[in-house]
Symmetry: D2
């Protein structure tokens, strides 16, 4: 559990990814985002944006850098979670990088679920084009009317009628569902309201163009809607899908969540650490280059201590994320659950603070569009809710600790 070094076998992949990013991702990033600004329809892609993306994807595929996110799977590169964590921290540095390697959320989680629990027909229809990078997907779980801290709080219902699941309800903050390439949603529904609490939910495949799926609007995060991917607010109005779209089986929704949640959280956290490193770098460069009262800002007041504390916390977070990844490798997702909750509760909160301190050292510029800091803050702040708010993860960790002493 304490050997957190990357494996020798994975190093070539890390280097290849770094090379790919430098050669194929970095050069297209500026143009890609500039194109996103001037479009007439904010909720579509500019053709040239897709061209840039597909070009990079093709190059990645040609180099064999494709779908390696799947740990120990037939279709994947067989990377351990620990090795993948090292690579994820590279991916975190360029926001387009993951997608060019077909390793971006929520597709990764969705593909992993389909790979593990999908039927041959489900795999053929949805996993195959996802693995090929031909379509994208979404994961529809959070609801506006319920406290998401309690995963059992699902009011979207599905019931069987003439061989079809009829779905009604409302979901929001469904990331990626605004993307015109998004074709399929894994949707959490309540199918068995009278079953024991952990057997009431199911996960169903819902093609996004099914009649009755209504996209209401893009939700904002601190004033940003991240179009065209978006964080969509959706309604399901008598949406009908075939009985065979059920994943794994009625009432097994929670079971599936176990499969998906561990790795995704680790990836998020690894990228968060990349963000914290960037914030720390920006704060040092700014504080070292501005002067006030005859000194660089770096030498004023508490600033050097702020920098020291940021460095210490970042290093501690990195080790914790690596150890959680290792725990998943060694103990399996279920047993490693507490490790994963620990980093999910720890990382985004601390990274928010570090970015906030970087903002403070920049003066008002830190809040402006002249630095990426405000956007980074918004993303990390949002992460404190994604996959359950901090409080829920602290509850998992606290309870496990109490149980060690028979106190829960």
């Amino acid at each position: 559990m304490f050997n957190l070094a990357m494996s020798e076998e994975a190093r070539p992949l890390l280097y290849a990814v770094q090379k790919h990013i430098q050669e194929n991702v970095a050069p297209i990033t500026e143009e890609f985002y500039a194109l996103n600004e001037g479009k007439e329809d904010r909720w579509s892609w500019h053709p040239r944006q897709l061209e840039l993306l597909e070009g990079a994807k093709t190059k990645a595929k040609e180099s064999g850098l494709w779908n390696f996110f799947l740990p120990d799977a037939e279709t994947g590169a067989g990377l351990s979670n620990l090795d993948y964590a090292y690579i994820a921290s590279e991916l975190g540095k360029y926001s387009l990088a993951s997608e060019t390697l077909n390793c971006s959320a929520p597709d990764t989680g969705n593909m992993e679920v389909l790979e593990r629990v999908g039927t041959p027909e489900q795999k053929e229809k949805w996993l195959k084009p996802l693995l090929n990078g031909e379509i994208r997907s979404a994961y529809a779980m959070t609801e506006p009317g319920e406290a998401s801290s309690d995963a059992k709080n699902i009011s979207t219902t599905a019931h069987l009628e003439n061989g079809e699941w009829v779905i009604n309800g409302e979901k929001y903050y469904i990331s990626g569902a605004g993307d015109p390439r998004c074709k399929i949603m894994i949707t959490m529904v309540k199918t068995s309201p009278d079953a024991p609490a952990s057997k009431q939910q199911s996960q169903i495949l819902v093609p996004i163009d099914t009649p009755g799926v209504e996209i209401i609007e893009g939700m904002q995060v601190f004033g940003e809607d991240h179009a065209p991917r978006g964080h969509m607010h959706l309604k399901f109005n008598n949406v009908r899908v075939p009985e065979e779209n059920m994943l794994l089986g009625e009432g097994r929704g929670f079971e599936i969540s176990q499969v998906r949640l561990g790795p995704g959280r680790i990836h998020h956290c690894m990228r968060s650490i990349g963000q914290a490193e960037k914030a720390l770098e920006l704060m040092i460069k700014r504080a070292g280059s501005r002067t006030a009262f005859g000194k660089t800002i770096l030498k004023l007041g508490k600033n050097l201590e702020v920098i020291s504390r940021a460095r210490i916390e970042i290093d501690a977070m990195r080790l914790m994320v690596l150890q959680a990844a290792k725990a998943m490798d060694v103990l399996g997702n279920r047993e490693a659950r507490v490790y994963v909750s620990a980093v999910k509760a720890m990382v985004p909160e601390k990274v928010c603070l570090i970015i906030d301190q970087a903002i403070q050292m920049h003066g008002a510029t830190g809040l402006s569009h002249w630095t990426p800091l405000a956007g980074m803050y918004a993303n990390q702040r949002h992460l404190r809710f994604a996959d359950g708010p901090d409080e829920v993860h602290h509850m998992v960790v606290g309870r496990a600790e109490a149980q060690k002493h028979g106190a829960w």
Copy 2:
């Protein structure tokens, strides 16, 4: 110093202001902001917006509710800072309220400066239309190239040439300078680079339509630009204004700052406390109405303690702001400087935390456009830089404390 009660004489004014808000401000607010959304030119007002505003202004004037911000001035209502603080906290609840009473920043500070140090000609030309609510104004101090924590860091220059001041430099985050009604800017410049540090700066009146004043763009705060008022980025390219536009005299820029800064900071902080009260109310209503794990969120984990701590800190901040206002009344702006810095350092930082906790209790909704919390957070976060970052105010307080014991 410890009698912080509102004076009996000021109470009728407070009630009149409350009545005015209910009758004339509250009813127009929703329409006003809806009109702001759909406009073709984001950097102008919709004619109906101005009609609404002017209507409310006329009614306020008719009721004698006008310009009462000026403490102990011939032209003002003679309100003490303490009494004004109570009224400011009412104004903070509706964002349009201050302007309908001709009591909004930065006009209040600019009018106070003109009233105290302006020449008869300057008063006739600029103070009069400002007091009448016919034009608006800006205060151009912060610069993008300098650490604003040190007020002596001014690189915008002005030198006399043929009876004119020739101004060159760059300013940013100049709030209100995007408003088409903004006609005049009080601009901080360096006129005497060889004088002692506190005698190098001057403040000059610069009509915004003077040739050479270039508005580059609106700066953002967490992705918002607050058009059409805006937080403008400006360049001064050989801007020429008549010699008599100098305020008070060359090299007396710092002296003028003493006049303006105290009351403005108190007003900001009082409004901040109004924001914190609103955040606390929203968090309680949300936490009391959502359930998870079979209880209202209010009863889960640390939430009730978070609410208690918010209440305690808000009450403490209110008393501190009232005491700072009282100090200005009793000791004068200069002597009360440390009290004012104390609340400027204390309030926005703590209010940010309270709003952040309200966000956390809302789940992702707290970050969305469905609640005002994200916008409130952005405003308060920005306040931690306005009129000097927290660190500078802590320096003022810390030094004064050390001096009491001869340790500075």
Copy 3:
């Protein structure tokens, strides 16, 4: 509620107390504590100690400075809680001051209770000698076997038998019960286990020399036992007291607590603020007189900001305590309960932090017997439990806040 100024009438008393402290308390303090060190029996007083104390008491009585703690009482000086708060902050500066004026805890609370609810016989027997400063008293509430956060957690029982209350149970941290002059304890017991939760408790007068009262040991606070006053651990082994020793009536123990707790908490908090002021002064003097890296420590790193934050928090706490005292005057103890809990939850925690920062600025000396800081820290840390832990007071404040919005 916002006029927190001391009344004109009370000022002469404040000045008289200050004069008394300078003339009669300050001069005896050093000798008093030196005598406490070398004694053979740590749990007794040195005769000279008592002589010093009695001398100062006599002088106070002669000047009419006696028993003025009782608000609005026949026997007291009729001081409001607000005025008393100002005086308490003076008393906080010299640990012997309160006793010389017969205003020290827990006698003040006990006398107030006896004055308000005692029978004529109880007053004659116990209140009179207490008011004369002839004996001292204790308040026996906290129990080692129960979580004291829930005041209903009382396992000490009393039942009537032949006209006597027979008491059995265990109490600890009974401050002052080690003092040989302590003659009477007001003891919280459970008399009616089957009554509704708030009617089960009673308060009974127990002379400390009653057979069956067993003093087991003095409890320590961070290694100190504060002999001979002590924080005693007691057992009640079939202790029998006459039926008429019951206060107010069986099952009315909680009702009595309402009487005593408000003022006592205010006095504690006011003294805490005096402690914080002292810590701040010590930290400035130290940091201003030591040098490292060529500067005074005051000018290094975050230290000046630490000082600024301490000053701000102390001023905020002072205003909050004054307002709570005012609330008791205006609203009565019951209605002011939430104000009092707010300061009890706020003050000792923040004062601990300020003392800890003073320790840090002293280096290891801050932990030693060369400064009073370690002892001050221990006292304030203990206060976070006295009269209920912080958490309970936050619960009171949080609930009251939630109730304003119908959310509890």
Copy 4:
């Protein structure tokens, strides 16, 4: 740098140490400390105490468990710092364990210094009996009159006179110098006041019985003096030692500090983590066994989140300490300096907080002699000064970080 696992070779030693502790240390602990209480002379050992200690030492020696602290040394077991860190965390659980294995501070640091830089004569005279466990030693660095944050602040002087170093000055908090078995002190002195700042100091061997060495008193830490080992306050009054007692050479005192400080700090921090684990365990057991308001305290308010945060921080600290140990193994003491400062700045501060929270969950009992918490807190609080206050270590880390970006 990321393989933090214990080496296979070291595991048998770890198991042997665990066995030794269970068989030889645990059984004598209670008697040992009980004997410490009743002694007539607090500053001596009871003969039976020494008998117990020597018995355990003999058994350890017989099992070959002796002096294994010395990394990569001829005389030691050749343990890496990383492996030693694992063992140190076991030693931290029993306060007598280290000494029974001849691995206790400050002897370990002193022996390491002598082994690395001592002359054959110095080794024969002092290292040999230390390695045999026949005598003990002290390290005299901190001075009462100087800010210890700046290691150059040394006012104790030594000058050569007739082939002898004549030492004058004052030291305090010299741990272990009260132990009657302590025979030798490595003493930091200023020998070359006119040399560059880092060449002014030297380290000299001073036998504690040299005439002129005056032990003034034992310093206290939160009221405890830890007699008979003590934290002594010493004066050097014209103390004369032979010229050859100089270590390494005049003006090389700082150089020697590099040798000693790394490992010692790691060991301290590892033991601190053991203390935090103990505090967490105690807080859970208490909170799980007490009830208030009808629930265990564990289930009330923020308590479970406090436990979760403690677990997360402890795990993060452990990984950071292991990584610092690894850095010393891989990079050497000098290059690993920043890693070591990071954990020294991180660990004791966070452990203090965790112990404080354990105290809070115990109620007043947490401050009493009924739990070890108050003593543990005092020790950890003291550690925040030992080997330099937190602030100095943050300066080291902050500067190193700034240097990476050329900003210092």
